[in-house]
Each structure stands twice: as C-alpha cells, then as structure tokens.
Symmetry: C2
Subunit: 477 residues, 2 copies
C-alpha cells in the first residue's frame, strides 16, 4: 500500500513527481483526447475555492459576469493582426455541424477578445455605456504540442476579464488593479510569493500594447506565470470599430483591457508547496483543512466515532472545513498516508485513550505533533490554519530568495538560471532575447515593478541596458 | 423613451414579446454565430443564483463537482446505439486542430455520458468505489435547426449530473431524488409550479431506460420541460465496460443515472411570470430584489441620496439584494419604467417630502403601493419578498389549473391543447403518439407521478389506455 502511494522523490525527477502526485492524490487524470485532462472532485474543489475568492474580489471591484459564445467565426480572429498570428497555430476548428459543412469554419475560442469586441461595437454608443467591466468563467481551447496537466492542456478552464474604458489612464489603472487582485490571490490565499512586473515585447500577449504578469518560483527553480493582465490600447477597438461619443461630443475609440487566470494556478500550488510525501495545500484554498482520523477497535468504535463527529461539528461551527475519515476498510496508517499525500494541513488523531484524557493529537502537514484538549480545538484550529498559511508563505519566499541571484556576466547567468531566477540587465532587443533563450532555455519573466532603478550593460551582448532596472530571467513552465 | 422600451403585448404575439423582453431587459443578445446567444450581466446574474441554489442542494445530497473534456472522440458516441442516433444529427465536429487535420474527428460534447463512462471504466473496480456522485457545470453544443434564446441555442450552459451505483434500486432512488431537487428549485426558488412525471418511450433521452421530467406551463399555455433526470440502467455500463466486484465477489455492471438543467430554466422564469410591462422575477432568484429610486432636485439631491444609501445599508444588513439607482441622467419616471421592465420585485420611491415624514413609498411589481416608515423597512421587506414569492407561485398555479382540462374525445383534446394542458388517456403506442403530434402539434409531456389511478381508452385511437392514468399532453417549447 505504502508503495502503491509512494512518489518519485522531487530531487530525483521533479517532473515525474509532479505527474505522479496529480494522479495519486486524485486531482486529475488524462482525458481520452490528446492533451486533455479530467479534473477530479478533489482537484475541482481547489478550483472552486479559487473561483470563490476571485469572483468575490472581481465583484468587489465592480465587475459583473457574463457569457459569450464558444465558437468564433474565423474572420473575427483575423481582424487584429498580431492576435491572429499568435493564436492561429493553436486553433481547433469546427468545419461541420448539424450534419453539414459550414460555410465559414468556426474557431473554438482560444480567448474571447474578438467576440466581446464585436458585441461591444453594438452595445457601446456613449460615455454613459462606459466603463464595461465584464468577466467570464469558462473553457478555452489551445492546441499545444507539449502538454502537461494543469500547466498546458488542449482545453482549460479559466476566467477572462474584459473591460472597456473612455481613457487610456482609466484602462491602465484597471490593468494594474486586476494584476493586484491576482497577486493578492497568490499571496493571501495560495501562500505563493509572486513578482509583479511587465512582460517584454517578446513575451507579451498577442494583440496587447503591453502585458503585466505575476511570476512564481516552483520548487525546481523554474518560473511559472500565474496570471496576466493586458493593456490592449485601441488595438481591438480599431479592429472591431468600438467607438463612443464622449462628454465633449467627440467620437473616440475605447481603450480595452483583458486579464486571465486559469487552472494552471493549481499547478503553481502543487509545485510551490508539495514535498516527497505529496501535496501541501494552502489552508485558505484547501478543500479539507483538517481531517479527523478515528482510531478504534470493534469494542471502542462507537464511542470514538461519536466523539469524532462531535469534534467535527464543533469545528464546522468554527468555520473549519473538516471531515471524519470513518472508512472501516482502511487502517489508520493507510489513512495518515493518504491525507498526507492529499496535502490536508492538519490531521487529528483520536483514539480511546485520547478520549479518556479528553484530548486528541494534532499533527501538522508541515511536521510536528501536539496533544490538544478536545474543548480547545474550535478556538485553536483557525489560529493554527493562519499560522500554517504564514509558514508556507515564508518558506516559499525564503526558497525564492535563496534561488535568486543578481548576475552581471553570461557565465554566471547560465549557472543562475539552472537553479532559479537570474536578475540581469538586458538591452531590450528581441533578437538578443531570442538568442539567450536558444543558448540557455531561459526567458525573460518580467521587468519587476518593485525592482530598484539601476543602469548597466546587457548580460549577453554588452549593449546599454533597457528598462532602467534588472530583468528577471528563468526557465519557465 | 417609453416607446423605445415598450413591448409587444403578450396577447398580441407572445413569441415576439418573449424575444423583445430578453433584449430590452438586457438579459441576452444574439451572438455572431447562428443560434448562439450572449448572456449579459443581468441574465447571467439570474443563472448565478440558480447555480448557487442548485449547487448547494447537490452538495447537500452528497455530490461533488468535476470537469470532463469538451471534445469527445466520435467513436465514443457510437458505442451506445440509441445515444448516437439521438445526438449525431446535432453534433458540431472539430476536424482540424493545431494547423493539421485530425486523425479522428472530435465531437463537441452534446452531453457527457460517453466520456464519463470511459473514465469510470478506469476508476471503478470495486464496490468501494461506488457510488460515484458527480456533477459538472459547463457548456454543451447541439446544432438545432430552429433556435430561440435560452430555450434552444446552439451552445448552452447547464449542469449535468452523472452517477454510478451498485444496484438498480439505488440508481432509481437517485433519479427521483434529483428530480425532486429540480422540482424544489422550481417551486421554492423560481415560484414555478411543475408536474413531475415519466416521459413516454417516444420522448425519453436517447440512451436512457426511462426519463423523468419536471414540466411547467408558460403563459401561452405551452409546456416547457424544465429539467430531466434519467435512469440509464446498464446501457452505458455495457457500452463502456464499467464493471465492479461486488461484496459477494461477483463482477457486475454498474447502474448509471444522469440529470440536467440548463439556462432554459431562465426561459421558464420569463414565460411563467412576465407581463406586458416586462419581466417579473421571483425574489429568491432575482439579482436585485428591491431598487431604491431617489427623487430629488439639485437642492435636495444630497439629503435624499444620503437617506437612500442609509436605507440601502439597512436593507443589505437584513439580507436584501438592494440597489440605489442614483443615475443623474435619467428621470424617476424613466427609472420606474426600466426597473419594471427588468422585473425587480419591489421599488422604493424616496423623495424630500417622504423623507420629512420619515417614510418612503413601497411599490410592488405585482401592483399596489404603500407608505412605509423608513425604520420599518429592514423587518418588513424580507417578509414582503416571501409573500411576493408565494403570490407569484399561487398565480402561476391558478393559471395552470385554469388551463388544464381532462378530455376524453379527440375534438375536445384538440381544443384543450390550443390553450393549455390536456389530461387524456393514451394507448402507449409510439406510432399513435406520433400521429397525435402530426395532427395537433401537441406531444406527451409526462405521465404524472401524482396522477390518480384511472383506466380508460386512448383519446385518439380508442384502444385500452396504457400507464394506468391520464397522460399530460401539450404543445411545447
């Protein structure tokens, strides 16, 4: 049993560990169609918790949800030149429907800027119709060559925000506001430290004026782009003729933004916190925050279970997502192992002797056990979960700091990106950036907003650096 | 303005009224691809409320959400003979992806029995793996010839529940349990009276052993199938080889069920309650339960708005979804009209004179106005909303009863289905049922579970009746 649930150690093969933990913890399985996955209930429950927190933050910032069609006429995608160039290699195309060949093939949406742009051109007439602050929860399809569960799948679930504004300033404020929402989700809910910054021209969204991003470091030192927020300028407004009459009676193009976060965020959680025993889930997004494992024999079963259900009730009332593992067919050892694998933050062990003493054993997924009086649990556990979150965050932050180096020559750069982030100067030239990628497989992750102002010379070509600060380079998912 | 927002009267052209109210109340708009719609924020907010209540009821009955792929290999659909026959005329097919022609074309899911069946065949080994109680929120595509917003669209949002059980009895219990959840959503949240019953063989789901349904009556006397729950027997288990080893060590096929409710439920709400002034939304699903319209001139603006916001705050705390319409650019008359069109149950009018008297005017969307002391609102409005729900339900029930007739000859039958439901005996023969449809456009809606036991002769052919009770016939959406 222990063997069946055992995982390849991270240090041996991180990539293999990742694939195994997803399967064995029953987060997801492979679908029958290439590159697709099935998200199983335990994985989907994490997604639901992400959705709940994001959706609340979207609504608090004035956004409303809507739903736009899955199918987009191919001609729409061609209206914005960079957009079609970026997305057409990845499109899935419907050519037949209702038993007939379609006159115009339909793209399965890879993202919805075009169809939303089309609708806005009908809905927006006046400054009174602005801003448009929309969000959509849904699926998109991007036919990628190399796929990996959650990180890169042919179809994925995400949210895509789309907003239209009267002015550039308002639109740019929105871009940063929503990036801030993503950063808050990462830090305050997923316990993932992230860098907020600007993508270089090479790495920006196809069709954007510029792209902002949150970047996280995984436990193998690679970067993961966990959410992006784009300023689209007038690009889509011009492509779809989205104009409004302003208060000054002038007819103007709107300024649009879009921002998205997908289930790849679950991949970020897995690879930021997990260890050789399995997942470690951040308490605020964990489907189960504490599991009670009753330990009994036939003659003590009833008594122990009754106490376990009582404790569960008290913890539920304290707002803890708690479950009793009352499966008779498994041993306590098996259960301990399984809940470790599934990354539940706290395990509560409750046996007849504990019960006599009016106590139970509280074991943390981060290590450590203590005896706690039963009556103390409802007050204690919420505090423990907060501390668990903080410890996870600090651990990930320390890891990132230990794996981030300022480098000023190319050899040191090459070493640095083997194990984490390299902070280096870059000339800003796309061709030079491409050469770095070819030579090291590292890419620019972002020009960090928080980076200190500094001048220098390009780490590869020696020309004067662009951006006025160091750029974050890393190998990336 | 009044004209622009004016609607074709229901009595003049119910179908036109329906299309207009959807557009003008901004529930939805037409998408660029044939038969698709865009659900706008106000419409989507109704769907979110439906989702919230259903999702809670699903979880209370032990179900978990999961997500299965959008694309299904064509070969999967062919494994269950009736299933493919029913769905293949409506399929949208992806033939190209990633710039290449696919080896096997992919169907965009019209429903997910097949792909879930395939996954279950991998996941289910033992009785310990049962029951599987899954639900999926998502989109599906059915390429229908005649489309109508919410009721029949090329793509629609829905939930599809899928469960697998060790025994027939357990599966059949599940079918009825989930139909009961739908009936509860209709009655207790949407204020829609529904008949629960069994579909005839002709009308059952393609691939089911039998289908159960909730049927509602729209204001034009037509029926609308608002949710269905199917017993699939071993049909999909045999097609996908889903077997388990039971406690008795025998290897057996599982028994599966599926049940679905889509955004057509929004169509049911519109057509059950709306009137010539627009929508009337059932309070428990209404995005806005009460709107405060402040009435002011420049010199009273500040004072009135302050009171309006104060009242909003008090109502929010009382759990009311309330909004202040503080748009300066519109007159109170315009706002009254718009919120009537949008079907908000209660309007609160608040002007300077009301304020002096410490009162406001409470106007019900069902008619009637009264003066209410400001301090009384938080206690009063939740009660009013309950009463509003009850009044809506009773009104709809009375309408259905007034438009339901027991008929025993074919001429009376033809008249009855012109204006509502006909309760009639039927021989149970598919061919006879088809002739009735051709001759009258009415179809069997269900054999109602609550119908009294009665014997008789088929209303069309005179042969002895099947089912042991009367069948509900109607024209249907």
């Amino acid at each position: 049993m222990a063997k069946e649930k055992g995982l390849t150690p991270q240090s041996q093969d991180f990539s293999e560990w990742y694939l195994e933990v997803i399967q064995k913890a029953e987060l997801a399985d492979y679908g029958p169609v290439r590159g697709t996955i099935v998200v199983r209930p335990y994985g989907y429950a994490i997604w639901e918790n992400i959705q709940r927190e994001l959706d609340r933050m979207f609504k608090e910032t004035g956004h409303q949800n809507a739903y736009f069609p899955l199918f987009i006429p191919m001609s729409f995608l061609k209206k914005e030149a960079e957009h079609v160039e970026g997305f057409s290699p990845e499109l899935a195309v419907v050519t037949h429907a209702g038993g007939e060949e379609l006159e115009e093939p339909l793209a399965v949406r890879p993202t919805s800027e075009t169809v939303i742009g089309y609708m806005w051109s009908k809905w927006i007439r006046s400054w009174r119709d602005l801003p448009q602050l929309l969000n959509q929860w849904g699926n998109v399809v991007r036919w990628e060559l190399r796929t990996r569960p959650f990180l890169r799948t042919s179809e994925f679930l995400w949210q895509e925000g789309h907003t239209a504004h009267a002015t550039k300033e308002e639109a740019e404020e929105e871009v940063r506001r929503m990036l801030g929402v993503y950063a808050r989700l990462a830090r305050e809910y997923a316990a993932i430290p992230v860098l907020e910054g600007l993508k270089t021209e090479k790495e920006k969204f196809a069709g954007a004026v510029y792209t902002t991003t949150i970047e996280a470091m995984m436990k193998d030192g690679k970067a993961l782009q966990a959410g992006t927020s784009h300023y689209l300028g007038e690009n889509f407004a011009r492509a779809f003729d989205i104009k409004f009459q302003d208060k000054d009676l002038q007819v103007k193009y709107v300024h649009t933004t879009s921002w998205g976060l997908s289930w790849r965020f679950i991949g970020a959680i897995i690879m930021t916190h997990g260890d050789d025993q399995g997942l470690i889930l951040p308490p605020r997004l964990a489907p189960i925050q504490a599991v009670i494992v009753p330990i009994y024999k036939d003659e003590t079963r009833e008594r122990v279970l009754e106490a376990a259900y009582g404790l569960r009730q008290a913890l539920l009332q304290a707002g803890v997502r708690v479950q009793v593992d009352d499966r008779d067919q498994y041993t306590p050892g098996y259960k301990f192992h399984e809940w470790e694998l599934k990354g539940v933050p706290y395990r509560i062990e409750l046996g007849p002797k504990d019960l006599e003493a009016g106590e139970a054993v509280l074991a943390s997924r981060l290590g450590g056990k203590e005896r706690v009086p039963l009556a103390a649990f409802p007050a204690l556990l919420p505090e423990k979960l907060t501390a668990f979150h903080e410890a996870l965050y600090q651990r990930a932050l320390a890891f990132r700091e230990a794996h981030t180096r300022k480098v000023d020559d190319y050899e040191a750069f090459k070493e640095a990106v083997q194990e984490g982030f390299a902070l280096a100067f870059h000339c800003g030239d796309k061709a030079c950036e491409r050469l770095i990628q070819e030579e090291t497989t590292a890419t620019t992750r972002c020009v960090p907003f928080e980076g200190e102002e500094e001048e220098g010379l390009c780490v590869r070509c020696g020309r004067p650096a662009a951006y006025g600060k160091r750029v974050v380079f890393a190998k990336a998912y």
